[in-house]
Assembly symmetry: D2
Homo-oligomer: 358 residues x 4
Amino acid sequence: MPNTFGHIFRVTTFGESHGGAVGVVVDGCPPRLRLSESDIQPDLDRRRPGQSHIVTQRKETDVVQILSGVFQGRTIGTPIAMIVQNEDARPESYSEVKTKFRPSHADFTYLAKYGIRNWQGGGRASARETVGRVAAAAIARKWLLEKFGIEVVAYVKRVHKIEAGKIPPHVNLKQVEASIIRCPDPTTARRMIALVERIRREGNSVGGVVECVARRVPPGLGDPVFDKLEADLAKALMSLPASKGFEIGSGFAGACLKGSEHNDRFEIRGGRIRTATNRSGGIQGGISNGEDIILRVAFKPTATLMQKQQTVTTRRRAAILQPKGRHDPCVLPRAVPMVESMVLLVLADHALRQKTIR
Amino acid sequence: MPNTFGHIFRVTTFGESHGGAVGVVVDGCPPRLRLSESDIQPDLDRRRPGQSHIVTQRKETDVVQILSGVFQGRTIGTPIAMIVQNEDARPESYSEVKTKFRPSHADFTYLAKYGIRNWQGGGRASARETVGRVAAAAIARKWLLEKFGIEVVAYVKRVHKIEAGKIPPHVNLKQVEASIIRCPDPTTARRMIALVERIRREGNSVGGVVECVARRVPPGLGDPVFDKLEADLAKALMSLPASKGFEIGSGFAGACLKGSEHNDRFEIRGGRIRTATNRSGGIQGGISNGEDIILRVAFKPTATLMQKQQTVTTRRRAAILQPKGRHDPCVLPRAVPMVESMVLLVLADHALRQKTIR
Amino acid sequence: MPNTFGHIFRVTTFGESHGGAVGVVVDGCPPRLRLSESDIQPDLDRRRPGQSHIVTQRKETDVVQILSGVFQGRTIGTPIAMIVQNEDARPESYSEVKTKFRPSHADFTYLAKYGIRNWQGGGRASARETVGRVAAAAIARKWLLEKFGIEVVAYVKRVHKIEAGKIPPHVNLKQVEASIIRCPDPTTARRMIALVERIRREGNSVGGVVECVARRVPPGLGDPVFDKLEADLAKALMSLPASKGFEIGSGFAGACLKGSEHNDRFEIRGGRIRTATNRSGGIQGGISNGEDIILRVAFKPTATLMQKQQTVTTRRRAAILQPKGRHDPCVLPRAVPMVESMVLLVLADHALRQKTIR
Amino acid sequence: MPNTFGHIFRVTTFGESHGGAVGVVVDGCPPRLRLSESDIQPDLDRRRPGQSHIVTQRKETDVVQILSGVFQGRTIGTPIAMIVQNEDARPESYSEVKTKFRPSHADFTYLAKYGIRNWQGGGRASARETVGRVAAAAIARKWLLEKFGIEVVAYVKRVHKIEAGKIPPHVNLKQVEASIIRCPDPTTARRMIALVERIRREGNSVGGVVECVARRVPPGLGDPVFDKLEADLAKALMSLPASKGFEIGSGFAGACLKGSEHNDRFEIRGGRIRTATNRSGGIQGGISNGEDIILRVAFKPTATLMQKQQTVTTRRRAAILQPKGRHDPCVLPRAVPMVESMVLLVLADHALRQKTIR
């Protein structure tokens, strides 16, 4: 179960951060969708390390190869397997980690769980695992756009304590990609980049908040009770490495409003039943209501630092972890396509589920 | 899928808010656990409407009956079905709702999804559905305590803008139950109750934040990648009615820290590998590390108000929704056992999953 | 998992053979289907013990009650829970079984699995568990008939060594119900009944074969690879108590044909693509081809005998099991609605799955 | 769902018969198992085409590559992805099939299901898909042997009308592999081979029966109700291409016995509770009882013939299908490792499930 997501549009990822390959099998993709590697690669390029000087400098070209499920340029209803080779191995960078637990990494917990671990990098806990998610979501993106016109756009809303003002709901990919920090407000973007450059020089790291909007989601997606749309979104986004919080619509701030202030009253607008406000974030009772779905995800600062840190060894001795190799001063720019990907996977699955009902 | 939660400890709830019964089938409960209705009823009583003057006054005794899966006072490994009859029907209270969509309720979205709806109350979107969850979780609670010594305690951390200070991690059930608002800080509790009494008189409602701590969770629970422990907790808690946000450990505030401030360094304490701080909230890389699991859930104010509200009808006409019947000025006290229940269901499932690995 | 069947039309049964109730939760039934207890009861009556003198004489009225999921006579898309009370308890009949393993019953294996068992009857291994399956399948039957015109008819093909000749594929329920043995060939039926009467007097039991035909199944149901339609049918039917074999189309006899004799050549008939013969049994490559689906299930003689039997005790001593109570000389007449039910559950699930593809 | 098998030991296969690669992802394999390609390759070599003159002559080396989940020669609890490149493509062999439906192949039903199909070979309906199953099962085989001493051995019991006598239950791999037909009775094997050679020259094909025994399965595997061990075995085996029937223990012949003849009485033997006979085939009430599990699978003759066949085109015109390329006169020798593989996958999954109970 743990490596599979979705019930109808089912995604199974595999691969560790080092050695061999990472990849994904997508089962349940509708047939007759035009598809080739060129539909997948752009999203992988947005996720790739080394794309700018403010993210990790690991060297990976991340070229995707489709192994199955596509014939003469169209999906045929069978599982679509995709792989990306791991290139930048550097096992020597990790020799110290064989015996020392890195603070706030998964070294200790993987050993506790499995009684063994792959000390050569982050294994499955590495952000490298998200290659498979992003590749799968690129297919979901294409299908959702063609079938419903659904668009999913994420962007950096906050870095450390620098927060952008309200982003207009019609923000587009081009505006997001205009800055390497992926904040569509140019003034804030510049301040964020300056901060990350400074943090990087300190060998430190910062976290922040990514916001995501899904537009033109038809009413009726999501299931009552356990598989509420916001519940599946929460799971999807809290499964991303380094995420610490999730909120939808009014979120934590909504807990400071009264009912009379929070309720979204209905009205007729453009001939359709709409809500006058959108504190619900596009979901009511677990089911989409046709308004924009809007959510936010908090990411902690990445745990690898270019600073000495106290820790313990597998033999329970105190030790100092030396700074070594590379670090990622700010995970947020690369988190943007990851957030979009998880939202896309949830929407594709629920769109297909809804076909069993209507 | 939508009405089932868990992979090994599997819980399927059924029942609408009015008519018939609500209940649950628990499949996968370990055999040989002592169990009777008296293990279930106390948690149901904490969830019950009408337990104090600051919650909804619906009249339900919520007496649970075990139909199967228990023989001579012990579980036998077969599905445990439990039901609670619905008593307080009042269909006449809902006649207006046949044709008018209640703002921020699920009336509109259920109709959009299914093309039909049960207008007699909230149906499956009602908090009444959580009867089954709480009954199932009472079994999980007993098993987790006997098997691992795990304790799960939740409490009200904030009501509207009134927030309790830091609650000690060893807070216990008695301290929580000492006030009807279920905030273990007596001074803050009094202020919260006074606020809810005033809000109630206004016919309005307020939301807030529930915090929950799980103690003595062994290291190794949770799965990497999609079924990370925090991901499953997020889904579980965002599946509760009226929840709008979830955070674990440092949460959204953690996004304002630097890596050097956020990392939990390891140390040897009491002969075990421990972390000096717990910003991770007891989970690293999706797997429990043996520290307290600590999380928070934001609840919006409930949508039913004793005030007139603008809305539209099923025939797309503007209309006024009249105040009628009862309302719940503050869902938080009853949310406390619901939050505990969802945490217990996640922990029971992952504790059983871990048995397949070690 | 073990008590749930299906992915979209999901059925979870509960209840032991004695005490409490037996029942089922159906999740995923399409909304807007007219439904009441009167749609369920007839199939339960065909499954009921005591319906004729050649089956077990246990006294159960098996009156079904719908607890949820239906509003104003229609399904609303939420889980449909149904229960039937157990009436004929007789715990005293089973006192001997506390300490002696009944041959070819599940007493020994349940104890091996769970370390505890309900000695009061067959528990979940009893045919009584099928009450929930038959109730759920009655809903599937109604939906499949209304939506596609699908009809599923089973009948007794063989009792011990008495086998009916070829049954015409258009055989109907009335012809099957014309005899208490449920063999639509009247002459053979009389011989079968005479045999069962004699076997009953001997305190012995006989098995046989049930054949089932599903008509008007549209092409395209079933999934390639693991969830082939015949694979899911095999699982469904081999999950019935006492079943020992399954075959589809040509079955075991087909293994004695050459390819040139076995292949079903295509032709145009009635304007549609049809096969000239139907050795495939309506399924090719795991997917229905629009021809009649035809399958057979072998049932062993029931294990309870009115004869002394050698066995051992839970303390590993040799012992004699005394004949006591009631026995079922021939499970086949009651197996007929059980077989139909399992076929209906598989077809309903795959019909809904197919909606995710086209 | 359709391309995944198992709940805990989960296997997802991918890949069409031509182009790209075939492969599998195994999720849920226990950690710390020694594993390398050399554990997988021998079973793949037994499944490989072209291994003798009596099977299909397609040219594939079927060299397996492990992409993930193994570190320093041991499994680490993460998904194990394995691929095998497709080599023998020959798209030109299939040009005729673009427009003509091959009798008793899946051409027509895939088109009916998906509205599109890969005409270049059998796609997912090809036996080539079983590469992934066999590779996954080789891991299951190793784990089951090390953990429980379980051995699974299959062999050809019947070819067309030539049937071997009773095969001793302690038959071993070497005896099976002694003949290219994989029947451990040398005299019968010679007759079977002579028959297949003749059938091959005729351009025809024959089916038959494979029998399989699983030894040293501990009591307690299998779940009551829907996931009975024999039900999951039936599904597993009926999911193999060309299978038409399944039976366990006494099977169809058991339906001709009386209860007094069929019951397996218990006795103490070698200090353990055993059954004196094994008509149950090692399973009672869906749960293993510690006796040998014994089952049989009927395979129809393969559908590709070196003879002209009547059929219709996608445009509904009558047509003649010309013999072309290669055919498989007898699928049985290669079916032997496939049958073992499916039994191994079921046993591994249920062995892990049982760990959640005891």
